[in-house]
């Protein structure tokens, strides 16, 4: 057990270092959600005057999207880093050690979870500076860190699965627009009850990203909303399970060692 923990811890540290030491990976994680938040908050502020809009602060409403965008970057960064390891042969170096398959992926994803919590903390700080009010208080901070970490594990594992399947960083990066569409076709800009276009409302209702966003958002706007939180965690956990199954399948193909 201690060997397993050492292996996982070692690989988690390496995974975090690899991301933190690449400014071109860190820059979009920190600034892209900030820029989008600023654009949306200034352009859509008037939406708060719509009857039924849940808050007077659009920043408090929109900050939730930053956590999801952070998750998307986890997908790209984790997948790209793993694909680079495959392309460079580093993956084979790891495979030549007594490392277990489960340690390899667990190490990667523990690193992703830690980074996910870290970036969630950064987004909370950004929101605080911009005027977002976290109604759930200190307990809400912990829940956001946990949900942020779990969502990043799910997205990061999807990136791992894509990297293991294709072995190509370019292929992993090609997934970004696809997943970004999911954000726009969700309740990211307006609450679902105000989405009047029929098809859009239907898509947003079926889109699991809506529930993930609403989980984060509920902590800012309502404080403690059990239903929204339950749904948010269920989506993050479901995404993680599906993605980990995909990783396990892809790993069997990629790592054929005896």
């Amino acid at each position: 057990m201690s060997v397993l923990l050492t292996q996982v811890g070692t690989l988690a540290r390496r995974s975090m270092r690899k991301t933190l030491r690449q400014p071109f990976q860190m820059f979009p994680i920190v600034f892209f959600p900030l820029i989008l938040l600023a654009v949306n908050a200034s352009g859509l502020k008037a939406a708060t005057r719509l009857p039924g809009f849940p808050t007077h602060s659009y920043i408090s409403f929109a900050i939730a999207v930053a956590f999801i965008q952070g998750g998307m970057f986890s997908l790209i960064n984790t997948g790209t880093n793993l694909a680079e390891d495959i392309e460079s042969g580093f993956f084979n170096r790891l495979a030549l050690t007594p490392l277990r398959r489960v340690s390899l992926i667990a190490g990667l994803l523990v690193g992703v979870a830690a980074l996910g919590a870290l970036q969630s903390g950064v987004y909370m700080l950004m929101g605080l500076v911009a005027g977002a009010h976290l109604r759930a208080g200190a307990g809400g901070v912990l829940v956001i860190l946990a949900l942020g970490a779990l969502a990043c594990v799910g997205f990061g594992a999807l990136g791992c699965a894509a990297a293991l399947r294709t072995g190509s960083g370019e292929a992993v990066q090609g997934l970004f627009p696809l997943f970004f569409v999911f954000i726009f076709l969700s309740s990211s800009n307006l609450p679902r009850n105000l989405l009047k276009t029929g098809w859009f409302h239907t898509v947003a209702t079926w889109n699991p990203i809506s529930y993930l966003i609403e989980g984060f958002r509920s902590l800012y706007i309502y404080g403690w909303d059990g239903t929204a939180l339950w749904r948010g965690f269920a989506v993050a956990a479901g995404l993680s399970i599906v993605a980990l199954l995909a990783v396990a399948g892809a790993m069997r193909t990629r790592l054929q060692r005896t």
């Binding site: 690899k18 170096r93 030549l96 294709t166 072995g167 005896t258």
Partner: protein
């Protein structure tokens, strides 16, 4: 629980193999097929004695890397058997991995980690205690001459430094058997010579070395025995001297000072042996009695009054061996074989399940290392490596 005990049993077996000195390789009828019916390795047999440097020579795509991947447990064979360090590569993969060290093609390093961090990572993954890992890391960094660069990110290392670090990493857990897959490809002559010295030192310490190379000189200079592989089959095996002696005698080539004297020169030389292929403007004969005829030839040319601009003795090379066994020269044979989906690309095809993506990945990795070469050499010089 049963998994743990199986792992522990394999670790014990690996340790036992080391202790008992079973650090050789025995391969029988090893085959590896890939998607589309491509046979990259076609029933090879070989035996490497403990403590030996075995050179596995062949052009690109001949099956060298696929063989290494199978012997290092990263790729299951389609047929045949292989025992490495006394352990079966299929049934005892984990134990084999504990017993061997490997430095595979290209320096598989993380450019964002330092040399010391690589050592820590490798020793932790091999289960060394933290203090032991630190001590071993320091020792190996010193051994491969990277102590001064230990805290620099590997992305700034030269090709030679990366290769040396790669070698050091393969030695972290004290393996008795080392696989080096084209360790000097792309290195400048100084870095290559430094790596050869280190390989010799390791062999001197009793480590068995299985070295693949496409360089004739490397196999000739470094290997105790050489196996030549072509299109997945071993076409010749023996010591470099045995292989060269088996294919013929040396030849002598002379260039007349007056180009018009070439025919007369050829006639004079013909008394000493059969005509051999010669450079334009020169004449050559193969010497049935070996180099002992050389003095007699010089005297004969002098007595004939033939002024000679250049006189050369050609000893048979491993390329001559390859030519004799395959009908092709090793130089350039790789280009022909590269066009076939064999060897490493085919291996990658199998591993990734997508031949086209693989070919692209390899191409881009190769291009990257080429492009970085000049900058890296400059860095190597500045580091005094």
């Amino acid at each position: 629980m049963s998994h743990m005990s199986a792992a522990s049993e394999q670790a014990t077996r690996a340790e036992g193999a080391r202790r008992d000195g079973h650090n050789g390789i025995e391969v029988a009828g090893l085959v590896r097929d890939f998607k589309g019916g491509v046979r990259a390795v076609d029933g090879i047999d070989l035996r490497v004695a403990p403590g030996e440097i075995y050179g596995f020579l062949g052009p690109n795509g001949a099956g060298k890397s696929t063989t290494v991947l199978m012997l290092t447990t990263l790729l299951p064979p389609t047929a045949g058997s292989a025992r490495v360090a006394g352990l079966d590569v299929v049934r005892e993969g984990a134990a084999v991995r504990r017993a061997i060290g490997a430095s595979l093609q290209e320096s598989a390093l993380d450019p964002y980690l330092t040399g010391r961090e690589h050592m820590r990572l490798q020793s932790a993954l091999h289960g060394l205690a933290r203090a032991e890992g630190e001590r071993r890391g320091r020792e190996l960094l010193e051994r491969v001459g990277l102590t001064d660069a230990a805290d620099r990110k590997v992305g700034g290392y030269s090709g030679g430094m990366k290769r040396r670090l790669d070698l050091g990493l393969a030695l972290v857990h004290g393996p008795r058997l080392l696989f080096l897959d084209e360790p000097t490809t792309g290195l400048d002559p100084q870095s290559r010579a430094a790596l050869w010295d280190e390989v010799r030192r390791l062999a001197g310490d009793g480590v068995t070395v299985f070295l693949t190379t496409q360089y004739l000189e490397e196999a000739d200079v470094l290997a105790d025995r050489v196996g030549i592989i072509d299109r997945g089959r071993i076409v010749a095996e023996g010591t470099p001297a045995q292989l060269k002696a088996a294919i013929g005698r040396p030849s002598v080539e002379a260039v007349p000072a007056d180009p018009g004297e070439r025919e007369r020169l050829a006639g004079a030389l013909a008394r000493f042996g059969e005509p051999a292929a010669a450079s334009p403007g020169a004449a050559a004969v193969r010497l049935p009695q070996g180099v002992g005829d050389l003095a007699e030839i010089v005297r004969a040319l002098d007595s004939e009054g033939l002024a000679i601009a250049d006189l050369r003795l050609h000893q048979p090379t491993l390329d001559d061996v390859f030519l004799a066994k395959t009908g092709r020269s090793l130089e350039g044979a790789g280009e022909e074989q590269d066009e076939e989906p064999a060897g490493r690309n085919a291996q990658a095809e199998s591993k990734r399940g997508d031949a086209q993506t693989d070919a692209g990945a390899h191409a881009s990795a190769g291009a990257g290392s080429e492009a970085g070469g000049e900058r890296e050499r400059a860095a190597d010089g500045s580091a005094g490596a």
